[in-house]
Symmetry: C2
């Protein structure tokens, strides 16, 4: 690497994070300085090159991609996001497309194919070699969110009667094609999984000893049809880098690796967070989601919540006379319903997250309910006291709430206790009910809980008011 | 393994998930059948044994732990959660404690030490061998949430002039002590990091070739002082299993592995989700958090939000006369403020999550603002139309809203458009403002946004009402 290039490369490196690399690269492209560009790319990480390609003008993407050395281009392609991959596939010649697809690692290829329209998928599958096509369609056959979708069928498998020497020869022979070789699986003669051994154990063993001498038959495995959440659980519990995947008859069919699980974890969390915020999961980055797609995903829930909230107008209608007699009651409506909503949102968050992490399960409902009722009582008492004091102090100074301010204060205080208890109760129990009914607990979103609490909160408020204020204000 | 044990072991395996293993194991403990228990444990995964120990009676934990073979006991200990580790440390003899600490992997030991009270930490540090103590205190010196806290100083490092044969000898020699050996780092004579090579590349190379023949000087690395979020980013972008950690002068000091990053990701997500739900992050599982700790973390935000919401009472106070004249206006107050809150909560969720994933940064604020204003207009129009139709249809059938129902409908419709636009605007911009001011964007929680929108929403409502209804109802 000559000094000039090195300096230039360092400049690129140091400015990468801010994606300020454009000017220099763009200049090279504008000048059609392919030699220099190719030399520059040769020293960069494929992920960095992918970032650059994604950022340049669409029409230049295919050109820049073509100048990459063949082997590098396959890696770069895998680091591109789906949109960029799609654009490239369309603009590259058929032969090149076929080569790229055949060289991609199977799990990345599945992810790409899943995201393309059906017609394009069919066309692309035709480009794969018969052998590769079999793999792709096989992976595509597993249900969405199943382990089958994220596994790779490229792994290292050995037999118990092999010598360590033979294993090492096998690793040298097959290893190049396999993404991750640190965990090696032991199969019996039928192809059933019997154990897993780390490459470390192999390396530390004597060359003439047998695989079966190292075996302990202790391992964890996943079924192809298992939900991806199960994979996350196992990776977290056992601190692993790779887990074997078997079918119903315990035949080894693939392997899930930690790097793929990291992506799944982030996707699941995004989905949970968006659902909890009252949006249908977007599936794409916010900024890349087409505008009307996004509106659709937001309008759905917002409309449902709005229809629910219309019940508050109905509920308020029942108490129209009370409001007309004591307008002062209307002033505290927003305060009261929002306190119920906030405490419900807190409880729902804690319970939903705890469920997602497997800390609590359905059978803990009674324990959680006791805890939340007590929490609601305490939190409601805190807010009730503040509310009462606020009304009392204000009325001393401004005579704002009339002669019955004490009774109004009491009404608001007792209502707050009731509403906050109701909020924590519904917020914490709704996720259990959702889960019991087979829905995702995260569906009991903050806005959903708030809406539920609003209607009930109003009824609690006016009922307590009519009890306390009967004969005075009402 | 004899057939009887095997059957028993399978029984345990198959019932593990439901944690129903207790009766059999408890019986063995009750009968003081240590031999059988020891034999049973020998065939189980350390994580499973840890689960069992965590579930049995506290007084039995130390006994059961003591019967484990030495080597197994170290692994089991690392899989126990902190509470169980603490109990065990207290009940085991000093000598045993010292042995366990010395055998733990350094990153797990740091995590344990961080969680213990200061006095206990000092006492425990004294139990470490001088060499180990140096490592532990060194790890503890790095700021919280820094990469230094999750790295392990156990890694494989080689030099560029070594032959592959020498590397393999080194791996056999040192490998046993190192948790993860699939990525090997190349250091220069001063100890500075110059490259990383996978064990796969080493295994596939000729024994007499040199390390430098395999080097390409392309690698990613982390600084010890980098935030752990940076580590997550790199793992996601580059699909890695281990990343080297260097100090300011590029000296290799440690390594971060994918399994530790998975734990960090989940912790960060939990924190974000809890903050977004309006709770201070709990730091512990919901069900294990002491009751009054939890109340403290919830009461803080709830009180702040309540004080904010008290402003709604003040705002409503300003419009007391309007409400007295047209009680009908009060009926729609909950509907209107909740619609603003819900749309704000949606916008905040999308923006906060997008920021956390690095999809949008501060400089995108204008792009997001345009998008959200337009979204607000469309969503507001949808809700406004539904609201208007509801009022019109009801008034046709029930004459519920009086002779001016059309004007009331218009008021509600226009208010909804304004309030939803204001909601999406504040929900989407608040995270930017928070981030700009150096706070966590997730602090602009759903309840926080809702409170902000409530007060403004009331002002918007009554202002529009006085414009449209002047001369009729008002």
């Amino acid at each position: 690497m000559n000094g000039n290039i090195f300096a230039f490369y360092n400049l690129i490196r140091s400015t990468m994070i801010g994606k300020l690399v454009q000017p220099e690269i763009e200049q090279l492209i504008d000048n059609r300085n392919w030699a220099m560009l190719r030399e520059t790319f040769a020293d960069m990480h494929p992920a960095e090159i992918a970032d650059i390609i994604a950022d340049i003008d669409e029409k230049d993407q295919a050109i820049v991609f073509r100048i990459l050395p063949k082997k590098l281009s396959y890696s770069v392609f895998e680091y591109l996001d789906f949109d960029a991959q799609e654009i490239l596939l369309k603009s590259l010649g058929q032969e090149e497309v076929s080569e790229i697809l055949n060289e991609m690692s199977p799990d990345d290829r599945t992810e790409l194919l899943e995201d393309l329209p059906g017609v394009v998928v069919k066309k692309l599958l035709r480009l794969l070699s018969p052998e590769e096509r079999a793999v792709a369609t096989k992976l595509l056959g597993y249900p969405e969110y199943s382990v089958g979708r994220i596994m790779t069928p490229d792994y290292l498998a050995i037999k118990s009667e092999w010598t360590i020497e033979k294993v090492l020869l096998h690793v040298r022979d097959i290893g190049k094609k396999v993404e991750y070789i640190d965990t090696i699986f032991v199969r019996d003669n039928e192809g059933k999984l019997v154990d897993e051994i780390t490459l470390k154990e192999i390396l530390l063993a004597k060359p003439d000893s047998l695989v079966k001498d190292l075996m302990n038959e202790i391992y964890v495995s996943l079924k192809v049809t298992d939900n991806q959440e199960k994979a996350i659980e196992l990776f977290k519990e056992y601190d692993l880098y790779a887990i074997p995947v078997v079918n119903e008859e315990n035949y080894l069919v693939g392997m899930v690796t930690a790097d793929d699980v990291i992506d799944v974890i982030e996707e699941e969390n995004t989905e949970d967070i968006q659902k909890f915020g009252g949006v249908e999961a977007l599936d794409e980055p916010y900024i890349d989601t087409p505008f009307f797609n996004m509106i659709k995903k937001r309008a759905g829930w917002l409309t449902i919540l709005f229809l629910g909230e219309l019940l508050t107008a109905t509920a308020m209608g029942f108490f129209e006379d009370e409001i007309a007699k004591a307008v002062i009651l209307a002033l505290f409506v927003p305060l009261i319903i929002s306190s119920g909503g906030n405490s419900g949102s807190q409880a729902a968050t804690l319970v939903i997250r705890s469920m997602a992490l497997g800390e609590i399960t359905l059978k803990d409902w009674w324990k959680v309910m006791k805890r939340e009722l007590l929490s609601g009582l305490m939190l409601g008492t805190i807010l009730g006291t503040i509310g009462f004091l606020r009304i009392e102090i204000w009325s001393k100074f401004f005579n704002f709430y009339g002669e019955h301010s004490f009774l109004v204060g009491l009404t608001v205080a007792f209502t707050l206790i009731g509403v906050v208890m109701w909020g924590t109760l519904s917020g914490s129990m709704l996720p259990f009910i959702m889960k019991r009914l087979g829905f995702d607990p995260a569906t009991s979103s903050a806005p959903f809980v708030a809406t539920l609490v609003d209607v009930t909160g109003l009824v609690i408020y006016f009922t307590i008011a009519s009890l306390i204020l009967a004969g005075t204000l009402l």
